[in-house]
């Protein structure tokens, strides 16, 4: 963790409204997760108990407390995606990436990372792209009308190799 960087992030937030979540989100944007040292640092800087930051980080599904893979794949599990087969998309991704089923991290969230740390897989409640269901997101790019057939092609573009 770069102290100066986190300090700069804290400085960005002049208004008290939305400050804590904003800081944590910006830290996660940099490191893709919330390193323990960064939470300790923020806790000291803001004079806020670490336990409170931990409670926030585990309450909101957006935050990760563990390092994640290079590319993050998120499967939308919203209603429209559900009725159009999102679960099959998720199960297929689990099989293609060869990562365990129903594994959760210590904080109870669904978040799987491949052994080589190349991909992480998680789910979201709704991207608001319901018209193109089922939808997945890889890093910042959203893929609509995804079929099981398409998955290997999408993954290959991010360096996946069929085993």
């Amino acid at each position: 963790m770069n102290k100066e960087h986190v300090e700069n992030i804290i400085r960005r937030y002049e208004n008290p409204e939305g400050k804590i979540l904003g800081i944590l989100e910006d830290i996660q944007e940099t490191y893709k997760y919330l390193p323990k040292e960064s939470l300790e640092f923020v806790s000291k800087k803001l004079g806020m108990p670490l336990s409170k930051l931990y409670s926030i980080a585990t309450f909101y599904s957006f935050f990760n407390l563990k390092p994640v893979g290079e590319h993050i794949i998120t499967v939308c599990m919203g209603t429209a995606c559900h009725v159009r087969g999102a679960k099959d998309i998720l199960n297929n991704l689990i099989e293609l990436l060869k990562i365990g089923v129903n594994e959760t991290t210590e904080d109870g969230k669904f978040f799987l990372t491949t052994e080589d740390k190349h991909f992480s897989l998680n789910t979201a409640r709704c991207f608001g792209c319901c018209s193109m269901a089922p939808v997945i997101r890889v890093d910042d790019k959203i893929f609509g009308y995804v079929t099981i057939k398409d998955l290997p092609k999408i993954l290959k573009a991010y360096g996946w190799k069929s085993k």
Binding site: L21, E95, R125, C126, S131, I142, I148
Partner: protein
Amino acid sequence: MKINTLEDLIYIREVGLKKLKPRDKVRVSVGMATCGISVGGDVVFEELKEKLKNRDDVLLTKTGCIGFCHVEPLVNVFIPGKGILIYHHVQTKDVKKIIDNFSEAEKLDNVLCQIDKWYHITSDEIVYGGGFTNIPRWSELGFFKPQRKLVMRNSGIINPEDIDEYIAVGGYSALFKALKKMTPEEIINEVKKSGLRGRGGAGFPTGVKWELAKNEQSDVKYVICNADEGDPGAYMNRNEMESDPHSVIEGMIIGGYAIGAHKGIIYIRAEYPLALYRLQKAINEAKNYGLLGKNILGSGFDFDITISKGAGAFVCGEETALIASIEGDIGRPRPRPPFPAQKGLWGKPTNINNVETWTNIPLIVKKGGDWFRGFGNEKSPGTKVFSLVGKVENVGLVEVELGTPIKTVVYDIGGGAPSGKKVKAVQTGGPSGGCIPTKFFDLPIDYENLTSVGSIMGSGGLVVMDENTCMVDTAKFFLDFTVDESCGKCVPCREGLKHMLFILENITKGNGKEEDIKTLEQLSETIKTTSLCGLGQTAPNPVITTIKYFKDEYLEHINNKRCPALVCATLIEFEIDQRKCTGCAVCAKRCPVKAIDGIIGIGETFRIDPNKCIKCGTCLDVCKLGAVIKTSKGVVNEKQGHTSSY
């Protein structure tokens, strides 16, 4: 520059109109809300940019989403004198054809419709041109015909990243009227007269809510825009922010003036990066023109807006949880009273409205409450934008007058289920709503009617379900959602929902008992009556309505261990129809668990090992011959398709 006088506003309007309908240039605009971008709108835009870089006869811009997501990417081409043509399903390969044929633009094959004039409501009708021959007007298409665009008055026409264009179509003229010619009381009276009700779902009269906040004595007050659109299956707020962000901002400034607040906060979910970007950009633009900040329009009124990001918690859509979240706490609701109007953010009087509620405000101020009452019905005036999704042909955002029958939306606008399937139900109101069977499709959509059949209006998600949707699975899906999103404060919600989910899981695995239905009903009643906030009070609705209207499906799962819709994995099997199989082995190659084996070239030898099969449906998806079939105790559905049947 700062806008202070009517002359200033008119001046900017002229500047904007020159961009919106240039006198001597073609204007090409690409539908670039998140929906358009993710089906390739961004690539089309880049291609246009590249190909047009040396052309000064064309103005290239972005626009939002007009709502017809089914046919995106959409490209609008404005030709001076003639009007706007909308092309559908535009790919990069079509770009050259489009920009080389402006003189015969209407002759290309992928023309959807034309817009010769458009009523932006906050200004007089704008005539874009004399029209193209033999091209249907937008309002003649089945998808648009029953719609009434009030909230989406500018979506898909103007560039959402340019305040000048918003002002060109009458934007901020309602704010001008409010600050220069109306007292806060007059505004509140107008909003009360309009009968506008909260578009977040609960339907509380907006004017009354404002009055409560106004009457509180306090040095500091807040207005908040609830943009934490968390209902799965609902995305109208995202589009309203992405396609017309200034309408939200204008509504909030007027609201602030009416209740006496000088600070506004938009609480937006982190999953909407583009909406966030466009709102921030709009806020900055408004500040530059003196429409936000000190002494707005020279009226002496100060108002500022900041954005506060959510972090993925459904319960934060609840007012008190949302406030806790802005304050930097975990989003757990607290008992009301005191209501936010009395003690809200930082203990100060606070008025919270949904995005869509805010976008209606400029209309009501500009055109009057009586005008607004001319739309919708007696108890629910105005329109509502619905996200029509799921098993329906024309997916998209549709705006209809309240009181429009469900069937008009599902069949006339939506075109029914794809590939000739039969629609079974619509689900409204997200996890707090219910499933409404087709026998109620004559019902006019309004707050009271939806409640009377066990659902709710909610924020506007309208998910269509067809014969291949399992209603037990649907109930399970929503319970899984609410179990996950329950904040854990109230025991009945935290533990009761978990137990309901456990029972539903058993039923979908074929381990259910008939008495389970009774237990589910009892638990539902307890959770509804003993939970503190809306999440718990409504979470059992999907279960209650599916049991009420689709009990036979529950009984099929329980008594016959059969899933009639062929959805519940434990109760279905995949088989190969050896008469159709040619032994191409595509399924065997693609099966992720190597459950399929056979001799290549000999169809009769191919089999799926049921012990290895994980029922992922890959084989069904990849087989081009329809040789893979899905069964559940006698129910067979050949080539029903797994995920790609639409």
